[in-house]
Symmetry: C2
Subunit: 99 residues, 2 copies
């Protein structure tokens, strides 16, 4: 399993509406092939910044299968009106689960 | 609970030794006041980059209590020889647990 890490910047005045839109989108990710979990975190030092963490079975499940699906179009329709910059998207793999 | 997110860059040729050092340090964090969990993730697109995620009861537990403790000195003695840049440290709070 890998984690998509998307750094998203919005207008903090829109925070409540953005968080509501992401909550609405959880059904899209729940239905996506290979998607195993989804969390949204807000950065404390800069409340315009969020980190969306989505677990996928593989990078391909995210970058190929999901990005070419209707689910991606629906997700972007919900979320992208809030973006004030292009999201920065990376992927990670857990190498140590300390405790 | 909040999460410390530390972005760490190392020489990827030192990856195995760095991961071993972080594993050794897990006892330091386990013993730290207010510390609730620790994970290390390696970035897939850039294997020189790691994200260390540490759960704390509060930002103060990390930035004040831990940073002024002997545990911090022990942690930095283990890990900082691997750093090729100053770690970027932020904190986040989970605002949505989708699934």
């Amino acid at each position: 399993m890998i984690t998509e890490i998307a750094q998203i910047t919005i207008d903090p005045a829109q925070a409540q509406a953005f968080e509501h839109a992401v909550a609405q989108a959880s059904d899209i990710f729940r239905a996506a092939a290979g998607c195993r979990g989804m969390r949204l975190e807000r950065m404390i030092e800069d409340p315009a910044k969020y980190t969306l963490r989505i677990q996928w079975d593989s990078v391909e499940d995210h970058m190929v299968t999901f990005r070419n699906s209707e689910g991606f179009q629906a997700w972007r329709a919900l979320a992208s009106p809030f973006f004030v910059a292009a999201p920065i998207v990376e992927h990670s793999r857990e190498v140590l689960h300390g405790f």
